[in-house]
Every structure is written in structure tokens, then in C-alpha cells.
């Protein structure tokens, strides 16, 4: 006999106790699921500049790699990268101790901290006046250092490398240089979840970039790819990888010409976007909306229509809306005696298409006053290299306009144009090399007829030539193995065009010098 029977209420409560536990467990699981697998965590920056440098725009969920893997790769491939790690690719670390370079942001996705690119990776330039100077950052300027092609090639190489396996990866993560200190459970996670996923993602990237890795060769798939040339520092082929990654366009020689395939162009500056809204943006002027241009560029950095962090991108947009271009760093290097003459010549030859500063010293972006500003000049008129223009096709524009379907920010503005667009030249001293493909190293060279412009030169320096205006291209101050030879005979690299009477290339040398002096003040 039970001398302590439950009361009726206790009996009912006991009967449903398992149900309550189950509900509590379910709620707990839902909470954990939400907090770990759904919710994402980012570092919030109080300061807009810090947000620009390190804030996440949403590239990590789909394309990011765990920070420990990112750091471990630099240890595993020290032979290839050298002791400076990712600095080799022109990535900018603010201090020796910085964990991540400018342009890499972190986001915790499914419980793992991942890193990938943001806007600043391509839009921070540096300059030095003397070889021994510490590089000065120019935020919003085109990157003159980033070797994106080499970085990409590095990841593709890793994907195919038999040394890249779970054992080596975990050993590298646990090495003092990375300091991952993985415990037993984390090691299992890295071995059985993280590593296979990273490897698979890199393999997929390899497939999409097959045209990049196997120039002029038959691959196992039997496809024949046209020659594809290194973009070099400070350049990117904006739309061909875009075609392959976003839309799986066929990139083999049957489907794409050599000219269309080689379309590397300079990174642009991103300051003063407010006056640019409505102008034809991108080198070929294929979009008039700053917002669409921003979102499209974000796709290039690795976001997807699902993972994009709109609020973060809007914050950057607000910051670059009125961001001021930098002033010429050595005012004493401007020969004021020539500036007046230069201003007259600029007004006569250049301002109609590029705008200029008004009497108050403010850059005037008024498209009524400067009818050619922000307009597209037909290719046969401007005459510059056709590669970048050809790479942007009607079909591709149509495909782009399907992006972000279902969102208010769906693309609607992309279109094929007849040539290249005329840009404002604010802060032009910090935007060398010149022309869309960065084929002319200095402003002074740009005022020469095409035949007199340097045909082969060294690209990637950040030592400023304050007289010709542009980064030095004579190889000064760099180790030979670090130099990138820019060869204008390579497809996409031509330095022709923007040449002739109306472009000022027939002016007298003193007049050209005066023009350059004036352009230092823009």
C-alpha cells in the first residue's frame, strides 16, 4: 500500500510533467537554434570611418571563411606568401599587430566567426612622398595596392592543393602564430564540418573561375579558354567574374571573345557621391543610380541578395554621400605661377566634360553648366581600350536587372551604353593611374599623344610623383620580384584614346605642365 499517494492535482501535474519538460526543451532548442544558427553577430562601430574599414556588409554568410582558417592559411602557405602574409596581396594592415587588414570584416554565422571583404578593401589608397615615409591612407580613394587577382589565385591554388587537408589546417590553427587553441569538440567541428565546407566552397570557386586558372589550355571538361591576363595591382575585372559567379555564364572561348574577356579596370574613388547620383556611373556609365551601383559593387565583395546587410551599406552610402576628396598633400609642390594658365586651359579643354572648381573653390558638378559631365562619350569618339566596354553586354545587363527580385531595391537601371562616361575629376591626384583601365601612369603622360605614353611600366607603387602627378612607375624603391609590369600591348591594357586636339595632347609642353599644376588643386 502506498502511504503517500499523490493528490488528484499532483497526479495530473505529474502526468503532464514530461510535456512541460518537452515544451521547455523545445523552447530552449528554438532559442539556441535562433541564437546560434539564425541570428548573426557583427562588430558595431561607433565611428563611420571604422565602420567603412571593418564593418560587415553581409559578405560573410555565403562567401566568408572562418577567421581561424583565414589566419591559418597564411601560416600553412608561408612559403608562397612570405613572412608578411596577406600583405603580399596589397592588403593594408594598420599596425603590425592588426589581426585583420582594412577591408575585411567579421560576422559570427552559425556560431563560427567568419571574415570576408567589405567596401574598403578596394577603396582605400595609400601614398608616400619619400621612400622611407610611412604610407598615408586615403580613405575613399581607389586602391593602388590591392592585388585581387593574386589573392583569388591563391585561394584557387589552396583549393587544389593536396596539402590543404584537415590535419594540416588544424595544426596550423593550433600553431602559435594563429593561436586557435582548439579543444576536442572544436577540433571535431573543424575536421568534420568547417574544413569540408571551406574546401567545397573553394572548389566551387575554382570551377567558376576555370577561365582564370587555365589559360589557353584544354581542361578535363574539354573547354577551351581564351588567354586571361593578370589584372595587376589596383585593378579588377568587374564584370567577367560577376558573369561567372552570379549567373554561371559560359566563359569559354566559344562564348566569349578575347577582348570581352580581358576587361580589367581601375578601382574608382568613392567620395562625393551625392553630386554623382544621376550621372552615368561605372566606367561605361551603365547605371545612373548610386544605390544600385553600391549594391552591385557589394555583390562583387561577396554579399548575396539574401545575405546583404542593407543597413550597413546605407550607412556607408550616407558617409560617402558628401565625403570630401583629399587635398594635394604637398601644397608647396604646386607651382602657383602656372595654375592660372592651367585653369584657363582646363576650362577651355576639360571642364565641358569633367566639371571644375568654381570661384569659391568648390568643385562644380552642375551638368547644366558642363553638358558633357556624367555623359557617355561614344567609343569611336573617345577611342580608349574597348575591352571594358565590350565586357559589359546587353545580355548581362538583362541578367543584372533580375537581381534582388522581390526586394524594393531590385535592380532596374542597368543598361548597355555606347562608350565610356565622363567623370568629375575631384581629387584626381589620388586616382592614378589614369583612364578606365589605368593604362597611363601620370596626368602628364595622359596629355601626351598615345604614342608617347609609356608602353611598358611598373604598376603598384605608392610613391607619389608630385610633378607629373601619379605613382612612380620606374620601379623605384621596390624589390624586383614585387614589381608588376604593365604591358599596354596586352588585351585590355591599351593606352590609346583620349587623344587629339580636343583632349589637349597637341598643346605645347608648358601648357601641358600648367594643366597638370592646375589639376593638383582639384
Amino acid at each position: 500500500m502506498n502511504y503517500d499517494p499523490p493528490t488528484p492535482a499532483e497526479r495530473v501535474l505529474r502526468r503532464y510533467r514530461w510535456l512541460r519538460y518537452l515544451v521547455a526543451l523545445l523552447l530552449l532548442l528554438i532559442a539556441v537554434y535562433y541564437l546560434v544558427f539564425v541570428n548573426q553577430y557583427v562588430v558595431a562601430y561607433r565611428n563611420n570611418l571604422d565602420h567603412f574599414k571593418y564593418g560587415s556588409i553581409g559578405s560573410e554568410p555565403t562567401n566568408g571563411i572562418p577567421i581561424l582558417v583565414f589566419k591559418a592559411l597564411a601560416v600553412m602557405y608561408r612559403n608562397e606568401l612570405g613572412p608578411t602574409g596577406y600583405r603580399r596581396f596589397g592588403m593594408l594592415y594598420e599596425t603590425e599587430q592588426s589581426e585583420l587588414p582594412i577591408g575585411m570584416s567579421r560576422r559570427i554565422v552559425t556560431g563560427v566567426e567568419r571574415v570576408w571583404l567589405n567596401c574598403s578593401v578596394c577603396h582605400v589608397g595609400t601614398y608616400r612622398i619619400n621612400l622611407t615615409d610611412k604610407p598615408t591612407m586615403i580613405y575613399g580613394a581607389p586602391s593602388n595596392n590591392l592585388r585581387l587577382y593574386d589573392l583569388l589565385k591563391f585561394f584557387l591554388k589552396v583549393a587544389a592543393d593536396p596539402k590543404f587537408n584537415a590535419d594540416n589546417l588544424i595544426a596550423a590553427i593550433d600553431s602559435p602564430a594563429v593561436g586557435g587553441h582548439l579543444n576536442f569538440i572544436k577540433r571535431l567541428i573543424y575536421r568534420y564540418i568547417v574544413f569540408p565546407r571551406v574546401q567545397q566552397a573553394l572548389m566551387q570557386l575554382s570551377e567558376q573561375f576555370a577561365f582564370l586558372g587555365s589559360q589557353n589550355q584544354d581542361t578535363s571538361s574539354g573547354l577551351h579558354y581564351g588567354p586571361y591576363f593578370d589584372w595587376g595591382p589596383g585593378r579588377v575585372d568587374t564584370f567577367n567574374p560577376y558573369k561567372a559567379i552570379q549567373f554561371n555564364f559560359p566563359m569559354d572561348a566559344k562564348h566569349i571573345t578575347e577582348t570581352e574577356l580581358n576587361a580589367a579596370s581601375n578601382f574608382p574613388s568613392i567620395w562625393e557621391q551625392h553630386p554623382r547620383d544621376g550621372m552615368n556611373l561605372h566606367w561605361d556609365g551603365n547605371n545612373t543610380s548610386v544605390d544600385e551601383r553600391d549594391l552591385s559593387a557589394a555583390l562583387g565583395a561577396g554579399v548575396t541578395p539574401v545575405s546583404v546587410d542593407i543597413a550597413s551599406i546605407k550607412r556607408i552610402r550616407a558617409w560617402i554621400w558628401d565625403l570630401q576628396p583629399p587635398a594635394f598633400p604637398i601644397p608647396s609642390a604646386i607651382d602657383q605661377s602656372k595654375v592660372t594658365r592651367g585653369r584657363q586651359l582646363f576650362a577651355e579643354y576639360c571642364a565641358g566634360c569633367h566639371g571644375m572648381k568654381d570661384a569659391t573653390g568648390q568643385y562644380d558638378y552642375d551638368t547644366n553648366r558642363f553638358p558633357g559631365l556624367g555623359q557617355v562619350d561614344a567609343l569611336d569618339k573617345i577611342g580608349t581600350d574597348p575591352g571594358r566596354w565590350q565586357s559589359y553586354t546587353q545580355n548581362f545587363a538583362a541578367a543584372q536587372n533580375t537581381l534582388y527580385v522581390g526586394y524594393p531595391w531590385r535592380f532596374t537601371h542597368f543598361h548597355k551604353t555606347a562608350g565610356y562616361a565622363n567623370q568629375p575629376l575631384d581629387g584626381i591626384w589620388a586616382r592614378s593611374p589614369y583612364l578606365h583601365n589605368g593604362s597611363v601612369p601620370t596626368l602628364r603622360d595622359l596629355l601626351e599623344p598615345a604614342g608617347n605614353r609609356p608602353a611598358k611600366w611598373y604598376r603598384g607603387s605608392d610613391i607619389l610623383d608630385t610633378s607629373k602627378v601619379g605613382y612612380r612607375y620606374d620601379g623605384f624603391g621596390s624589390a624586383l620580384e614585387d614589381l608588376f609590369v604593365y604591358d599596354t600591348s596586352v588585351p585590355g591594357n591599351s593606352n590609346i584614346g583620349h587623344d587629339g586636339e580636343v583632349y589637349g595632347t597637341k598643346l605645347s609642353p608648358p601648357d601641358k605642365d600648367a594643366l597638370v599644376e592646375y589639376m593638383k588643386t582639384l
Binding site: 493528490t7 488528484p8 492535482a9 499532483e10 495530473v12 501535474l13 503532464y16
Partner: protein, 465 residues
């Protein structure tokens, strides 16, 4: 009566009406003020009446009410709502009630015993009921506290009917002046009457005539025991408002249902002599006692009920959480509505108008927050009722009848605030007014000391002195 302007009467007119006698068929009460049923856990655990209850009832008789309706008086131990309430389940309880009658009658105050059975609304059943499910019309648990219930068999129904009849007989033998059936506020009789609760498919469930069968049998059994001349009244809900807490619950009885039941209980003149109109198919209910609810007091004193039901822990968690506690309080106030004093008057008026067309000798009492002469006289004058029953304002001011003779009501800070702290404290502490703001004193400590003195006054004089 001097009518000054429309709806405005001199206080003298109001007082004259309130202090005019009320003649039931077989009972005359000296004024129109009834002390509504108020219990307090003052008695012996087993249901024997205690010395403190004598003090308690005498307070109100001394205060000047015309009639006292007793504490909730269980006709059987299975029908108790809280422990330490005096019962009427056996002849050995008669002497106590005889003593009550003697004490109260000294003040020319009448005494009506409220015959009660908790049914499933058994807040603390005590050790006697610990291993039994509560008796009810239904096997559905009480939805507020989750007190488990078992639908009564017909045999059990007959037993309980007989328990009511014997309770009435004992009341009469004790020399009391009448009995009231507690057919309101969610207790056993309501559980049969309410369409929101009664889910029986036999002769005691279904249409309103069937649902009323149980109480009609009780009325007839009582008449059989006490004869036609002993005062018998019925406390009943005007409207059930059974969905106050969970909107998906059935609403329960409408005013029309109640009218049908009242007509049946007249039983061709052989039934009840009066009706006592309340509302709300649970106790407590936002409409009864109408007022506020203190979640602070609930957190302090609801704990004693935790073992009683299967939803008490859930309720406690609701009360104890700052957000849900406030939501509960908001719901309570919202479901009550704006009117407190005279909250049931419109129900009473409708029923009285209809019933007195049939039998003008049947009288009506109305309960619900009354403490101002103008309001009391107003509801009597407009035909809502013949007298009012008062509970909390009399706890606050035992001498309220004397106040009403000369003034419209107590002075401002002595009024009952309808805080319902008395109600919640009753679960653990001596019944009394726990509203600190009403007490004299410049500091909280002084006021609290006076509060304690007032609450403990029920124990004066002590039994042994």
C-alpha cells in the same frame, strides 16, 4: 419625499428611505442595509464555530446594519472553499449558530445563514478533501486555478440536495431568521445553473430548465424541512460573464436565462421569498467583488493555494512577473468596466421589474460596492432593488450605517478604496481592511500600527479574560 430637482434628493430623503424597514413575506428588517456574506478563517478547522466569529458578527450588528447574511456556510465538508469556516453540516453545529443569533438579535439585527457548497471552486479543501476531486456538475477543471472536478452522479446530487435541506433545518432550529442559497459567483449551484460550466447530458444539464433542476430540488427540499413561513432567498448572478479570463470560454448565462431561473424558483408562490443579485461565474471575478486586484498581495498570499490546483503555479508565475502581473491587473480592470458602486443594479432592475409583475411580494437585494447614501437610495428608488448588501465598505467602516444616517458616505480618505486587499489577505491573514492609506498616522509605521490594531480588533474581547 422632497424632490429638489431631477435625480437630486436631499440627504434626509435618502436616509429616510434607507432606514425605512423592509418587509419580506415572513421577515421584517429594520433598514435596507444588509451585511453581505463575509467569512474570514476564524473558526475551528473542523467547522465548529469559534469565539472570534461571534466578535466578528457582533461588530456589524453593533454598526447598525438591519440584517447580516452569514459567512459562507458549507452544508458539507466537501463543499468548503477555505478551511476554518464555520459549517452547518451536522446538528452539533446548531448551538454555535444559536449563540450567533442571540448576539446579533440584541442589536435588533436579523441574521440569514448563507447555505453554500463550493463545488469545484474549492480554493483550500483542507486535509479532509485532500485525496478527493471536487464535486461539480462537470468533470472539467475550474479554469482559473485548475482545481480538479468530478461530475456528480444523480445519487450524489440527491445527497447534496438533502445536505442543503438539513442545513436549512438546522438554521431554523438555531433561531436564525432565514437562509440564503449561494447560487452565484461560481459555487456549486452556479456550476449547475451556468450554461458556461454545466456540460451534463442528463436531466440536470442542457436547457436552462434542466440546469435549474438542481436548485429547484434544493428549494423544495428546504421548504419540506422548514415549511412555507421560513425566509428563504436565493443569491444569483444577473449575468455570468464566464469568459472574463479566457475569451474563448463560453459566456455563460444571460439575463434572460437568469429570469427564467428566477421564475422557476418562485415555484408558484411556494419557492423563494427574495433574490440577491450579483454577477460573475467565478470567485473572485473582476465584477465581484468589483474593484482592483493587487498583484503584490497575490504574490504574498496566493502561495497557500499552490497545492490546490493544476494551474496555480502558472497563475503564481503570472502574478509574480512584472510584465504579466501588470497585464493581469489591466485585464482585471478592463473586464470589470468603469462602474463599481451599483455594478449589478441594472441586472437587478430588469429582474425585479419582471418578477414583481408575477409576484409583488418577492423582494430583491443587490450587491456591488455600495457605500454612499445617494447611490443606495437611488437604486431602491428607481426600483432596482429593495435593499442593498454591503461587504468591503463595512469591513472598512463597521459603523457605515451610522455614517449614512448623517452623511452621504465616509469622509474621503476613510472610504473603501475597493482595493480588494482584504480579499487576498483572507487566504492567510485575519479578515480586515489592509488598505494602509485609510489609516491615521503621519508615517507608514504609524499607519501600519493602526491597521494592525484595527484588523486584530476582531479578537477583542478574548474568550478567556
Amino acid at each position: 419625499m422632497t424632490r429638489v430637482t431631477d435625480e437630486t434628493f436631499l440627504h434626509e430623503d435618502n436616509a429616510a428611505l434607507i432606514f425605512s424597514s423592509l418587509k419580506f413575506r415572513h421577515l421584517e428588517v429594520k433598514n435596507r442595509l444588509f451585511r453581505s456574506n463575509l467569512s474570514g478563517m476564524f473558526d475551528e478547522y473542523n467547522g465548529y464555530g469559534g469565539h472570534t466569529r461571534l466578535n466578528w458578527e457582533e461588530k456589524f450588528a453593533r454598526g447598525g446594519v438591519g440584517c447580516i447574511i452569514s459567512s459562507y456556510t458549507p452544508v458539507a465538508v466537501r463543499g468548503r472553499i477555505l478551511i476554518r469556516y464555520a459549517m452547518i453540516d451536522d446538528d452539533d453545529k446548531i448551538p454555535f449558530w444559536r449563540e450567533i443569533a442571540k448576539r446579533v438579535h440584541e442589536y435588533d439585527c436579523r441574521f440569514i445563514m448563507q447555505l453554500s457548497h463550493s463545488g469545484r471552486q474549492q480554493d483550500m479543501g483542507g486535509v479532509e478533501n485532500m485525496f478527493k476531486k471536487a464535486q461539480s456538475s462537470t468533470s472539467q477543471k475550474d479554469y482559473f486555478h485548475g482545481i480538479l472536478a468530478q461530475a456528480m452522479t444523480v445519487t450524489e446530487i440527491r445527497e447534496v440536495v438533502e445536505q442543503f435541506a438539513q442545513g436549512a433545518r438546522r438554521a431554523k432550529e438555531a433561531g436564525l431568521d432565514g437562509v440564503e442559497l449561494h447560487g452565484a459567483n461560481g459555487y456549486l449551484i452556479t456550476q449547475f445553473l451556468s450554461s458556461g460550466i454545466n456540460d451534463r447530458t442528463d436531466d440536470y444539464g442542457g436547457p436552462v430548465e434542466n440546469r435549474a433542476r438542481f436548485v429547484l430540488e434544493i428549494v423544495r427540499a428546504i421548504r419540506r424541512e422548514v415549511g412555507p413561513d421560513f425566509h428563504l432567498q436565493m443569491k444569483i448572478n444577473g449575468v455570468d460573464h464566464n469568459n472574463w479570463l479566457y475569451p474563448w470560454k463560453k459566456k455563460g448565462n444571460t439575463l434572460e436565462d437568469t429570469l427564467t431561473i428566477c421564475k422557476m424558483l418562485l415555484d408558484d408562490g411556494k419557492g423563494v421569498d427574495a433574490f440577491h443579485i450579483s454577477s460573475g461565474s467565478t470567485f473572485p471575478h473582476p465584477r465581484n467583488p468589483p474593484g482592483d486586484i493587487s498583484t503584490q498581495a497575490l504574490v504574498r498570499w496566493y502561495g497557500g493555494m499552490l497545492a490546490s490546483g493544476v494551474r496555480t503555479r502558472f497563475n503564481y508565475a503570472i502574478f509574480n512577473n512584472p510584465v504579466t502581473g501588470r497585464l493581469f491587473q489591466w485585464l482585471w480592470r478592463w473586464r470589470r468596466g468603469k462602474v463599481i458602486e451599483g455594478i449589478n443594479a441594472s441586472y437587478a432592475k430588469y429582474l425585479r421589474d419582471e418578477i414583481t409583475k408575477i409576484d409583488p411580494s418577492v423582494k430583491f437585494l443587490c450587491t456591488g460596492g455600495f457605500q454612499h447614501a445617494a447611490n443606495i437610495a437611488g437604486v431602491i428608488r428607481d426600483g432596482s432593488c429593495d435593499g442593498v448588501s454591503i461587504a468591503r465598505p463595512l469591513i472598512a467602516n463597521n459603523d457605515l450605517p451610522q455614517i449614512l444616517r448623517t452623511a452621504n458616505g465616509p469622509i474621503k480618505h476613510k472610504e473603501c478604496t475597493y482595493c480588494n486587499k482584504c480579499l487576498v489577505n483572507d487566504l492567510a491573514n485575519p479578515l480586515g481592511c489592509y488598505e494602509v492609506s485609510r489609516y491615521d498616522g503621519d508615517t507608514f509605521d504609524e499607519k501600519w500600527k493602526n491597521l494592525i490594531t484595527s484588523v486584530m480588533s476582531v479578537f477583542q474581547p478574548p474568550l478567556f479574560r
